[in-house]
Symmetry: C2
DNA sequence: TCTAAACTTAGACTATGTCTAATGTATGAG
DNA sequence: CTCATACATTAGACATAGTCTAAGTTTAGA
């Protein structure tokens, strides 16, 4: 278990309890875009008594404090993304897996000229099939 | 109630029952991006005995037959979109309302050059606040 | 140590969506 | 026309994701 997590939490104004550190330890270091229940399953391995409510509360707290984003990209699942920088997403329609696309691989023109809308944020959502490339994640 | 709906359903290989026509009558002519339960509420006004399962089955059937798209854009809601042409979406973060953005108001570059991905479809997802413009919806 | 605030827990609750078994309806063959 | 069959519809049970609540536990400070 990494001990640096506690410091990260404190830096964001979050009191670092044991449960919160365990959750942070997984969710801040994965690129798997887990759902809340997946986080729960994972955290229970190292912390069997943790309750569902705690995991949900903690994840929502992390989102409120800017440590995570939540995404609503796939059916029936609210997933979390530890990459809080701007980026796009690719969804593999066969596996449901979500991949981050770096911000500058795509370029969107004319977003700022949208009439009647104050744009706060945007991203491109790409769907399709990931090619099999061994070694790639 | 428009009678042309039955012909539209048949043209897509769907047997036009009374319930299905009533559902089509609402959902194919709205730009409100309703959720399944919203469709149910609406259809019950003119067809009080319709069951939840029928509405869900019918909407899924329409999606399978290409009459509708379903979108997973907002938290906890799978919404339906009768606009099956390519277009982008704007989500008002205050009201949760979804607006269609015509395809050519935005332009995305370099989508086809994505390495390792077969792109089947993409759209831009814009979030922010809609300006109040009386008369516009 | 004692107390108050904050955190965690188990489980009830809500909402959304699916499934099933039984019933209803439409249609074509006889 | 009647029956048989296939398909549609129904009510309600079930599943899943997420929230809420009340009670218990921890923590930090006086």
């Amino acid at each position: 278990m990494r001990t640096g997590e506690a410091a990260v939490l404190e830096a964001h104004g979050i009191k670092p309890s044991a449960q919160r550190v365990a959750i942070a330890d997984y969710v801040l270091h994965t690129d798997e875009h887990p759902s809340a229940d997946e986080v729960w399953e994972r955290v229970k391995r190292v912390f069997p008594m943790v309750s569902r409510a705690t995991v949900y509360n903690t994840l929502n707290l992390f989102v409120a404090k800017g440590l995570l984003r939540h995404l609503v990209l796939t059916e029936g699942r609210l997933v979390f993304d530890s990459n809080v920088d701007k980026h796009h997403h690719f969804i593999d329609e066969e596996t449901g897996k979500i991949y981050d696309l770096p911000w500058d691989t795509l370029e969107v023109s004319r977003v700022e000229q949208l009439k009647g809308f104050d744009v706060r944020d945007y991203q491109v959502l790409v769907r399709g099939k990931k090619r099999r490339t061994r070694g790639a994640r």
